[in-house]
C-alpha cells in the first residue's frame, strides 16, 4: 500500500463514497421487499395501523366519555351491562360492548385504552432507543475508558430484574409528585425506560464492535470522515437491523408491562382507562360476566400478536441468515 499523504484521489474518493451510500439503500430495499412478502407481518402491520388510528382519533370515535357513569340528563348507565353477544337479559343497545361494574361504556374505554397502550408502547421504547443507541454507539466506537465504565454500569443494571424493579418504582413513587406528572404516565415511561435501555446499549455496542472492523469503516476513516459522522452515517444504519427487531419486540413488552402493573394495582392512576386497569376492575365481576376482562384481554393479545408477527417478519427480512 502506498503511503502517500493523500492516498485517494478525488475521483476515487467519490467512488468510495458512492459505494458507501449505495450499500445502505440496497439493504433497506431488500429488507422491505422481503418484509412485504411476509403475509403475517403485513397483517400485523395492518392491525397496528388500525389501532393507531383508533388511538389517534379516540375523542371522535368513542361514543361516550370513558370515565363517567352519569349522562347529561342525570341518568345512571346500567352497571355490568352485557355486550350484544352476551346474556340477553342485560344487554343495553346503547352500549354495544356493555358496561363495566361502575357503568362506564366498555367500547369507549377500549378505544381510549388503545390510546394509552399505544403511547405506553411507543414512548418508552423511543426513549430506550435514544438512550441505548447513543450510549452503545459511543461505547463501542470510542472504546477505552468510556467503554469500560459504561459496561460496568450496564452490567450492574442489567442484573436488575426489570419488571420487579418497575413495580418497586411505581409502588413507591406513585404518590410522589413525580407520579402525578401527566397522570402517572411520566413515571411509567421513566420506569420502563430506565430499566431497559441497557439491553439496547449492549446490543448496539456489540454491533458497533463487529462493524468497526469492516472495511468500509476503515475506508471512511482513512478519507478523513469525522467520528460522529462515521457513527451516524455508517455504523448506525448497519447496526440498525437487530435494533429494529429489538424495538419491534420492545413495544409489546412495554404494553404488557403496563397491563401487568395495572393488574397489580400500581399502574397508571385511575380513572384513566387502560386495558390493564379494565382487566383489574373486571376481575371482580368475572363470576358474573367475563366480558369486562375478556374484551381488553383480546385487544391486548391482538396487539401483541401483531407486533410479534411484525417483529418476526422484520428479523427475517433484515437478516435472512437468521431465518428459522
Amino acid at each position: 500500500m502506498t503511503t502517500a499523504e493523500r492516498p485517494f484521489s478525488g475521483q476515487a474518493r467519490a467512488a468510495a463514497l458512492n459505494v458507501l451510500a449505495r450499500k445502505q439503500r440496497s439493504l433497506a430495499r431488500d429488507a422491505l421487499e422481503r418484509l412485504l412478502r411476509n403475509k403475517a407481518a403485513i397483517l400485523g402491520l395492518g392491525i397496528i395501523a388500525l389501532f393507531m388510528l383508533i388511538a389517534i382519533f379516540a375523542p371522535f370515535i368513542a361514543p361516550y366519555d370513558p370515565v363517567v357513569q352519569i349522562d347529561a340528563t342525570g341518568k345512571a348507565n346500567p352497571s355490568m351491562g352485557e355486550p350484544w353477544f352476551g346474556d340477553p337479559k342485560y344487554v343495553d343497545p346503547a352500549h354495544p360492548l356493555g358496561t363495566d361494574r361502575i357503568g362506564r361504556d366498555t367500547l369507549s374505554r377500549l378505544i381510549w385504552g388503545a390510546r394509552v397502550s399505544m403511547v405506553v408502547g411507543f414512548v418508552p421504547v423511543a426513549l430506550i432507543f435514544a438512550i441505548g443507541v447513543s450510549v452503545g454507539l459511543l461505547a463501542g466506537f470510542y472504546g477505552g475508558k468510556l467503554d469500560q465504565i459504561l459496561m460496568r454500569v450496564t452490567d450492574v443494571i442489567y442484573a436488575f430484574p426489570d419488571l420487579l424493579f418497575i413495580i418497586i418504582i411505581m409502588a413507591t413513587l406513585r404518590n410522589h409528585w413525580l407520579g402525578d406528572l401527566l397522570g402517572g404516565l411520566v413515571l411509567i415511561f421513566g420506569a420502563i425506560a430506565v430499566v431497559n435501555w441497557v439491553g439496547m446499549a449492549r446490543l448496539v455496542r456489540g454491533q458497533v464492535l463487529s462493524l468497526k472492523e469492516k472495511e468500509y469503516v476503515e475506508a471512511a476513516r482513512a478519507i478523513g470522515v469525522s467520528g460522529p459522522r462515521i457513527m451516524l452515517r455508517h455504523l448506525l444504519p448497519n447496526a440498525l437491523s437487530p435494533v429494529i427487531v429489538a424495538v419491534a419486540f420492545g413495544i409489546p413488552s412495554a404494553i404488557l408491562a403496563e397491563a401487568t402493573l395495572s393488574f397489580l394495582g400500581v399502574g397508571i392512576k385511575p380513572p384513566t382507562a387502560t386495558w390493564g386497569s379494565m382487566m383489574f376492575e373486571g376481575y371482580g365481576v368475572f363470576a358474573t360476566t367475563p366480558w369486562p376482562v375478556l374484551l381488553p384481554a383480546v385487544c391486548i393479545s391482538i396487539v401483541m400478536l401483531s407486533f410479534t408477527f411484525v417483529g418476526d417478519g422484520l428479523r427475517d427480512a433484515l437478516d435472512p441468515r437468521m431465518r428459522t
Partner: protein, 306 residues
Amino acid sequence: MLTYVVRRLLLLIPTLFFVAVVTFALAHAAPGSPFDKNPDRPLPAATIERLERLYGVDRPLHEQFLLYLGNLARFDLGSSLVRDRSVAEIIGSQLPVSAQLGIQALLLALAVALPLGVISALRQNTAVDHASMVLATVGTTIPSFVIAILAIYVFAVHLRLIPIVGWGTPKHMILPTVVLSLGAMAFLTRMTRASMLEAIRQDYVRTARAKGLPEQVVIVGHVLKNALIPVATVVGPATAGLITGSFIVESIFNVPGIGREFVLSITRRDYPLIMGVYLLYAFLIALANLAVDIVYAALDPRIKAA
C-alpha cells in the same frame, strides 16, 4: 475460566450494593414511608420509637444508610408497618411456599420446553413444529393473568376439579404450577428451537454427516450439547419472569406465598415489607444469573479457554 468466575463474583458486590442504595433511596422518597416528615398516617408512639431505633430516622442520611447496611448484613429487614411481625419473620414463613411453587414451575417449563423445542427444530415446518410455535406464541402474547383467571374459572368454578382454598396437596398445586410455568415454557421453547436450528446449520454438523456418522449420534452427541448452552443463559431471565409471574398467580389462586404478600404490601404501603421482599428477590436473581453464567462458562469451551 477461573478469572472469569472471579470477575463475575466480584461483579456481584457492586450489584447488590447498588440494589441496596436504590431500595434505600426509594424507601426515603416514597410518601407515607417511615421517613416521611409529614406522615399522613400518624403512627403510634411505640412504632415510631421502634422505627427510630432501627432506621435512625432523625440522623443524617449517610448515617442512616450505614445503619441500614448493617441491618441488612444481620438479616434484619425491619418490622412491618401494619403487621405485628418482623419482615424477616413474614418472609421466612411464606417463602417455602413460593419457593416450592417456583421450582416446580421451572422444572415443568424445562421438562416440556426443551424436548418440544428440540423436536420442533428437528421436524421443522411439520405439524408438530407449527403447533408448538403457535402454543409458544400464545404463551407469550396472552397476559398471564388472563390465562390464570380463565383457568381458575374453568377448572375450579365450572368443572369443580380443583379446590380453591388451601395449599399443600397436589390438587391444590397443579393449576398454579402449570399456569406459572406457561410463560417460561413458551419462551424457552422458542429459544431452544432457535438455538437448535442455529446449531444444526453449523459447519461441523455437515462435517459430521459427511463423515458418515448416524444422524442420531450427530444430533445427540454434537448438536444438542451446543444448542443447549445458549439456552442455559436464559434460565436467568426466565427465573426473573417466574418471580414476577408468581405475584399474579399467587394472588389469583390464593396461594399463601411471598408473591401475594408482596402485592398486598404494595396496596397497604408497608414499605419495610416491600423493600425486604425486593431485596430478597434481587439477591436471588443476582445469584441465579451468577450461577448460570458460571455454568455457561463451564460448558462453553470457547470461554473455558479464555
